[in-house]
């Protein structure tokens, strides 16, 4: 198992900057294309340098520089596509919609967790190379692609929507105002940037697993549904370990959907948990009644794959030989 690269350290330790001479003039035949020519003549002058993290997990990872012709309105993902089409056909990058709707193209641009399809070159300083790295918190696979399967495993531990058994659906009624907050949570595109930037996950120093902001948002969406009947507070406290979040709001800052993760999802959930467990009157009532705390409904969280001691993966070269023989990341869900 290879660990995550350490922020700003491991990558640099093995950096081999290999400037690749690629200019608009030398790009393969695009001149004959009328509609979507990658390099229109008028843009031939301006170029941006993309410094892209390359290589397979645990092997000889490095940064490579690419000179990319700049077009008006270009985003970082356009530049990565240009590199694939003209200089490095094997450059690994996830993407789908190119419109900030699917959350596939997450990466760290100049150190900031971003959707590359939404990061405009015109908002960056093109005098300096633009650094593009994979998300740091997740195990590396190749180039800009990381293993995010842990997130899917966490999702399976959450109790799904639980409508009342005795209310026929034909009688379900609620007002738009009742679901505005819910719909904010359901805007989540699962880009996992909030998980990536969450310092609880990033530093891997907790004894028990933490579900992370994405799944607190999902749980909030279920808990605040007008007719949901489940009580996920024991799960949040005992398994999801909501208490680890200390409200630094890093997740909110990086959310491309502008979900107020901390203020609207996490803090209200924390209040509900506190109300359930720590309200003195309720506590006294439980003691008097001799009731044990309820067992959480839901399943044990999987261990976060990056959760190894930092020293074990401080130098990717050190575990390179070992990593070459490791099994591929688990890509399939467990059978039920």
């Amino acid at each position: 198992m290879t660990g995550p690269r350490q922020p700003g350290e491991a990558g640099r330790a093995v950096t081999v900057v290999e400037p690749t001479e690629v200019t608009a003039a030398s790009g393969p035949a695009t001149a004959g294309q009328v509609i979507e020519a990658a390099v229109p003549a008028e843009a031939a002058g301006a170029t941006a340098t993309l410094r892209v993290f390359r290589g397979e997990a645990g092997q000889d990872t490095r940064f490579e520089d690419f000179a990319v012709p700049v077009q008006e309105g270009m985003v970082v993902l356009d530049a990565l596509h240009w590199i694939q089409g003209n200089a490095a056909p094997d450059l690994a990058v996830r993407w789908n919609c190119k419109a900030a709707k699917c959350g596939s193209c997450s990466a760290e641009v100049n150190g900031h967790p971003r959707l590359t399809c939404k990061t405009r070159l015109s908002d960056l300083d093109l005098a300096e190379p633009i650094t593009v790295e994979p998300m740091r918190s997740f195990p590396h696979i190749r180039d800009l692609v990381t293993d995010v399967s842990w997130n899917y495993a966490v999702n399976r531990t959450i109790q799904p929507f639980t409508p009342p058994a005795d209310l026929p659906q034909s009688e379900w009624r609620w007002q738009q105002a009742d679901i505005d907050r819910l719909q904010e949570f359901r805007k989540c595109i699962e880009c996992f940037l909030c998980q990536d930037v969450c310092h609880v996950l990033r530093s891997h120093e907790t004894e028990r697993p933490f579900m992370g902001p994405r799944y607190l948002v999902r749980t909030a969406g279920l808990e605040m549904h007008p007719i949901d009947q489940a009580d996920r507070r024991p799960y949040l406290k005992e398994l999801g370990n909501i208490g680890y979040c200390n409200i630094t709001k890093c997740c909110t800052e990086v959310c491309p959907e502008h979900i107020a993760i901390t203020d609207n999802a996490i803090i209200p959930l924390k209040e509900r948990v506190a109300d359930r467990y720590y309200d003195p009157l309720r506590w006294a009532w439980r003691v008097l009644r001799g009731r044990l705390p309820e067992l959480p409904v839901g399943r044990e969280l999987p261990v976060f794959p990056g959760g190894q001691p930092p020293a074990a993966s401080a130098d990717p070269q050190a575990d390179g030989s070992e990593a070459a023989g490791t099994s591929p990341p688990e890509r399939r869900d467990e059978p039920s």
């Binding site: 397979e56 409508p163 009624r173 359901r186 890509r331």
Partner: protein, 605 residues
């Protein structure tokens, strides 16, 4: 080949995890089958996530007059009567139940003032009919289905590409593919296989489709001997972004027009008045005033006697109109036309079209509450697809099923907006059940023919081993350019013949394509097999388009500009693989329509 290939045994293998694949997997699971669900991307990233406007279902929450009969008629009329009428009937009847089912699984739709699922108007629909969540309905749908499938414990194989179907004595009995992350091969043994792979949009350079839309299901089915129908009908959505260049083709939801968006040319003229088909003109407003009255009522979900604005004509018609305005020199600065919703209150626009607001603000520096968007046609959807049985989704090959965009017949010559998401649910559910029933009757255990596995393995390895040759991106560029310029909105015999010749050349080049640098997450290598599929699909489109010597729905021939009911009104185009391996194109009579359904069409037939 020394180590054994990783193999998984399931009853029903579903290929594709968008709306149709997920719904099929859930249905097959509910029918008692052990299900495997394979997808090329991560779960929840399939193209369904990009659907914006809504799903059409005659719930009658906003327009009590609506019914399945009216929905059926709208669908058939929009499809220029080429649709499989039984599919259109089942779709109209079952869509409301499928939408309510989504709600019972946790989907949170926008609400009417009396607290029920809200419905919005869309092009070609007689009534406000689309259940929706702002302009991100697809996200709500895929997340709901995904969470449902996960909670049922269905096995999901993410980032896995199927390159070949395996056949045996009882029909299709498995599939061969590879893990994208490692490039290692994987084999599935299955008693039935459901194709739910979506569309073909990556055959064109201007498209709203993601890299996944490479016609995999169409090509896998064709190679396995199944028939493809209506392949000439490719939907060019009227409104894609045109500027800046990097976002050219990105979808601008029809909901902009559903909410009252007005199309204007460079001179400020509301040109859609000039393009309404004469026989349908009575369904549309007669004046700007009447159209605006309709918009005001629609924005409050109130009934009105005003008729709908001309912008809500069917997609084929609006696309042609925009194309002609641009061609005749009346376009916007970047080769589109103007779409304006800024005359409505800014808060209302932001609430109903939040992702459009963000998309234009962040990618094009345009505030759609203050000024118009620039839009033009973009390749969006293929009506044509694998011929299926309406009841079960069975293809013409035993053990092989298909649902969603890769299946043909439901939408005829032109799909109405909003009918796709409901199609995915209705026929996803039917096909999952159909495949599970077939699997239950499968005699014994599937036998995976080692010869077929070896052929598939060799095909995967060859591009990696070649020492020289061009990369797949060069083939993609030329393929997209060919289809965009020669097989676009307007077609001619000469262009189509030229396209077919160029495709033959591309196929020859494909045989020598090279993909260096290993199997692990190598997009240059992965693209090789997408290209194989797209070349096949593009040939099917071009040959079907050359055969149909008339203009109907989304298929417009410059050399045959009129509808020709006598010669072409009664047939679907059919493509299949001849015994010598060449592509054969022909026709077959339309699926017959029961008398009571025909009566619903009134004067339309």
């Amino acid at each position: 080949m020394s180590e054994p290939i990783e193999t998984h045994a399931v009853d029903v293998l579903v290929i594709g995890a968008g709306g149709a694949g997920l719904r099929a997997a859930i249905a097959a699971h509910d029918a008692g089958a052990r299900v495997g669900l394979v997808c090329k991307s991560l779960l929840g990233k399939a193209h369904t996530v990009m659907a914006e406007g809504g799903m059409a279902a005659a719930l009658g929450h906003v327009a009590p007059d609506d019914s399945w009969q009216v929905h059926f008629r709208d669908t058939m009329v929009g499809g220029k009567l080429l649709n499989n009428p039984r599919m259109a009937e089942l779709h109209a009847k079952e869509a409301p139940e499928r939408v309510r089912e989504l709600e019972s699984w946790g989907a949170v739709f926008d609400r009417t003032t009396d607290g029920r699922i809200l419905q919005r108007p869309f092009g070609g629909h007689s009534h406000p009919r689309l259940a929706h969540v702002g302009d991100r309905t697809g996200l709500e749908m895929i997340r709901t289905l995904q969470d449902r499938a996960v909670s049922l414990g269905i096995d999901v194989f993410m980032e896995c590409t199927v390159t070949r179907l395996i056949s045996g004595a009882h029909g299709i009995c498995g599939a061969y593919g590879y893990w994208r992350t490692t490039g290692r091969p994987v084999v599935f043994s299955a008693k039935a296989v459901v194709l739910a792979t979506g569309g073909i949009g990556r055959a064109y350079s201007v498209t709203s489709n993601s890299w996944e839309y490479s016609g995999d299901g169409h090509a896998l089915a064709y190679d396995a001997g199944a028939e493809l129908i209506d392949m000439e009908f490719v939907q060019f959505h009227p409104t894609g972004m045109v500027w800046p260049p990097g976002v050219r083709g990105l979808l601008v939801t029809e909901a902009v027009r559903g909410e009252g968006g007005i199309l204007r040319n460079r001179d400020g003229r509301r040109f859609m008045w000039d393009y309404l088909p004469e026989d349908r003109r009575g369904e549309y407003a007669a004046t700007d005033e009447e159209a605006e009255r309709w918009v005001r009522a629609a924005s409050r979900s109130q009934p009105t006697d005003a008729r709908r604005p001309p912008e809500l004509s069917t997609r084929d018609n609006v696309s042609r109109a925009i194309y002609q305005e641009v061609r005749d020199g009346r376009g916007s600065p970047h080769g589109g036309v103007f779409l304006d919703i800024s005359y409505l209150p800014a808060d209302h626009v932001r609430q109903k079209l939040p992702s459009m607001y963000d998309q234009f603000k962040e990618l094009a520096d345009v505030d759609i509450t203050k000024g118009p968007m620039e839009v033009g046609p973009t390749t969006h959807y293929v009506m044509g697809g694998i011929r299926v049985d309406a009841e079960t989704g069975a293809t013409t090959v035993a053990g092989l099923f298909a649902a969603g965009e890769c299946a043909g017949g439901m939408h005829g010559g032109n799909r109405l907006g909003g009918n796709s998401l409901s199609d995915l649910l209705v026929f996803g559910a039917r096909t999952g059940a159909g495949a599970a029933a077939h699997a239950a009757g499968f005699p014994g255990t599937p036998y995976l023919d080692p010869v077929q596995l070896r052929v598939a393995e060799r095909e995967l390895g060859e591009p990696l081993e070649r020492l020289d040759g061009e990369d797949a991106y060069a083939i993609q560029r030329d393929l997209q350019e060919t289809m965009q310029t020669l097989v676009g909105i307007y077609r001619t015999e000469a262009d189509l013949t030229e396209a077919i010749a160029r495709l033959a050349d591309l196929r020859a080049r494909w045989l020598a394509v090279r993909a260096p640098n290993g199997r692990a997450y190598n997009p240059g290598w992965n693209l090789v097999f997408d290209m194989r599929n797209l070349i096949t699909v593009s040939e099917a489109i071009s040959r079907s388009a050359r055969q149909r010597q008339e203009s109907r729905g989304a298929h417009s021939r410059v050399d045959y500009p009129d509808l020709d009911d006598r010669a072409w009104g009664g047939v679907n185009s059919v493509v299949h693989r001849a015994s010598d391996g060449t592509m054969e194109v022909g026709t077959s009579p339309l699926v017959s329509m029961r008398e009571e359904l025909r009566a619903l069409l009134g004067g339309a037939h």
